[in-house]
């Protein structure tokens, strides 16, 4: 066996890797932000006493969780095209990833809502708070705090899964790697480097979520105890 690795040609392309990494982070950032909004609304919808709303949210979650991401991406890509709408591959990728992660986030946040003891809500109702005030002031923050590790993992997973969008030629890290390896004929070296970059991105995201947690959970910052 002789392993002959040569990274020189790959390292030369570092600006392209950097750009790809930033595009991947950008994709993950957009889908995380919008996915969180969808997740909160979806979770409220699934718990709605209105059966049709609860049903629609349920169907959305099940449809997404039982189909492959790549198929979802193609559906968005060709679906928009067949409607005559033209978007960049990056936009399509961001939309598809948002729809995908929104469903998983809905389930995670719903579990958080369900974990809030009934007595908390009754106490808030007894203080004459409205339903939306109760969600906003009493339920939301503790619910998110309880499922924060699960949310973090989900969004890191989403960032890694975004590599699949290279299939529709969205510009991101894996697409850049595909191009570089075909240009340099150094496929193994390219993907070794790409794997390392993904690891760094994961760590960056986890650090980001940790810092964000310090900001949005002041009780935890002060006492350090889990809720």
């Amino acid at each position: 066996m002789n392993l002959n690795l040569d990274f020189a040609a790959i390292f030369e392309r570092w600006p392209a890797f950097l750009e790809g990494a930033l595009l991947t982070l950008q994709l993950a950032f957009i889908a995380t932000l919008l996915g969180t909004v969808i997740g909160v609304l979806g979770a409220i919808g699934r718990r709605s006493s209105h059966p049709i709303i609860a049903r629609i949210c349920g169907v959305y979650v099940e449809a997404i969780r039982n189909t492959p991401l790549l198929v979802q991406i193609f559906l968005v890509y060709f679906g928009l095209a067949s409607l005559g709408l033209k978007f960049s591959a990056f936009t399509v990728a961001a939309a598809a990833l948002t729809i995908n992660v929104g469903a998983y986030t809905t389930e995670i946040i719903r579990a958080g809502f369900d974990a809030i003891p009934r007595g908390q809500i009754e106490a808030a109702e007894g203080l004459a708070l409205s339903r939306s005030q109760i969600y906003w002031h009493v339920v939301m923050l503790p619910a998110i705090e309880k499922v924060y590790p699960a949310l973090t993992s989900q969004f890191v997973l989403l960032m890694l899964a975004s590599s699949v969008t290279s299939q529709i030629s969205a510009e991101e890290l894996t697409a850049v790697a595909n191009y570089i390896q075909s240009d340099t004929y150094r496929a193994f070296e390219t993907y070794i480097l790409v794997a390392l970059v993904y690891i760094v991105l994961s760590l960056v995201m986890r650090a980001g979520f940790w810092l964000l947690g310090l900001v949005i959970f002041p009780r935890r910052r002060r006492l350090g105890t889990p809720l």
């Binding site: 106490a123 007894g126 009780r219 006492l223």
Partner: protein, 251 residues
Amino acid sequence: MHKITRTDTASSVVGLSNVHKSFGALKVLNGVSFEVNRGEVLVLIGRSGSGKSTALRCIDRFETIDSGEIVVCGHRVSDPKLDLRALRQDVGIVFQSYNLFPHLTIEENITLAPCSVKGISKVQAKEQARRVLAQVGLEDKLHQYPEQLSGGQQQRAAIARSLAMQPKVMLFDEVTSALDPELTGEVLKVIEALAADGMTMVMVTHEMGFARGIANRVVFMHHGKVHETGPAAILTSPATPELAQFVGTGL
């Protein structure tokens, strides 16, 4: 809006008449009637499962009744068109398990409802928080989180949170049952002070000695009915054998 004019008993704050309530096949309230006037303390007693909590929860519409009528501070609670939030601004309720919001400081717990329901300013609300906390002897806990307080302190903070909404009547459901005797004492002292201040109260308690001292009226519930009612003296000289047995075992 959905208020009735108070003509007959102008000082009546809470009135139940012939209230029925079932959970499925289980009949819990079977024609319960009682009245609480302004400044009165009504104590509900009875064996476990006799429907005390259910009666209390019906007053604040945490349960809907099957038939009968409940009027609280002019709100017809049994009316399906009841303005629920208006009712709950007039009624304060304190639970056995405190239910402070764990992610908020004591101050934030107290100012939340006055700010978001009554729309008073943050500054005013904080000033009021200080006042109600002083009333329950917890001025120094303003910036602590609930988990940093003892059970008795948490319960007193929960009472303060209710007081900040300036309710016309307070409901207490076994608020000391989760506390050991020492902590129970400090909570009961706070309730006694409230009563002395003229607060109208309905409370469920198993503390018979305390009930004797504070009650203007005692209601003994048995099998979903008001089995015996009268002044605190009925606890020492009960008229019915059921109450006699209950206070006999309860002492």
